[in-house]
Symmetry: C2
Subunit: 244 residues, 2 copies
Amino acid sequence: MKKICLKITYDGTNYSGWQRQENAVSVQQIIENSIEKLTKSKTSIVGASRTDAGVHAFDQTACFETSSNIPADKFALALNTILPDDIRIKTSYEVPNDFHPIKSSKFKTYQYKIFNEQYSSAIYRNISYHVPYKLNINAMNDAAQILIGIHDFKAFQAAGSSAKTSIRTIYSSKVECKDCFIIYSVKGDGFLYNMVRIIVGTLVEIGKGKLKTENIEKALKSGNRIDLGPTAPAKGLILLKIDY
Amino acid sequence: MKKICLKITYDGTNYSGWQRQENAVSVQQIIENSIEKLTKSKTSIVGASRTDAGVHAFDQTACFETSSNIPADKFALALNTILPDDIRIKTSYEVPNDFHPIKSSKFKTYQYKIFNEQYSSAIYRNISYHVPYKLNINAMNDAAQILIGIHDFKAFQAAGSSAKTSIRTIYSSKVECKDCFIIYSVKGDGFLYNMVRIIVGTLVEIGKGKLKTENIEKALKSGNRIDLGPTAPAKGLILLKIDY
């Protein structure tokens, strides 16, 4: 048996998210089926991030064990001939048996795209969140800085989260204009369920002038979800990178 | 009667192109139907660029005449409530009767996106051309410079072109890396049928080392389509801007 690591990119629009589930088509299931087709044996893969329905990935990481004699680096090319074109394997390689996509990861980087015009984006409609109100980008970026460091992000998680601790370290957090988007980028050692989308929903309210930087400071102390803005839509979010 | 100008953005993936035609769904037809629904009278619109099937627009310009008493600037918002989300009206405003989307235009700018990795892009698959071979970007950019100026672009048009003259002025033409793409941008006073896609197909051959800058020089003299590379796919092309 050898352990193969896949670097994966996908458009989450047509999937129920990463995680395999009943009565819905997930990215994990599609990839597992493709590996089974290739290796002729039942396979289960473990992904580094359980992205939600509609969330995209530029660099998801997942592993599986196989006794197939297909060379590790050939899985990428072979799987891409089977997979639908909204899921692509970027590279494949062998990893030591003790490598674990979640436990071995050091940092994760997410990016969130806001399309800030009166009209929504025709071309980027599935990969951006349309906000038709004028946003104060400087205020949003100032507020984004507050999140950097070690904090208890209890307020920044959706109900039903199963994480043992809500303490996380954020290494960078910024809002900037790029091409036709306002982009929020955040790098941390890990993220709670819906954490990035709650941050963005809050930053948008700050950009509108409806919330202030102080609301984030308050939420970091109170741990109350209610002190923050709404959860921004899934489709603006992309898992950009996982560092090991 | 007043003349209304629309600035339009669309994802060309699901359309047979801009131009109305039998037995296929065009962007023009969808917009005309929406205007008719709104104004309750038959309308015909004239677009500045007859983009092909699969080609996208960030800033198409089109005009129509109407006796409707809807204020000119309200058409954008009203039409966006009727149109599908892959076609959006950016703005609408009244123009003088002698304004013509094609004849009044001064410059057009197109952009073409190449995705230059082993794997194709899952997320940008409908708005980029996948080239899995290593490309020499400097050689492509050097060749792109040759096109700047006033030239007879006879060799750079598809068969069946109806243009009276094939002389065009190119103001800028460059190849650069940006994010995950190789981008070709070109600005000119007008373009022949498939001209940008033939330029890109030729630049890609130059990037591969299969053609040279001299092939472009030769084609500009000979007027022979055969001296150039293949026509690059429609989906990488976007009509970026029309200046008036």
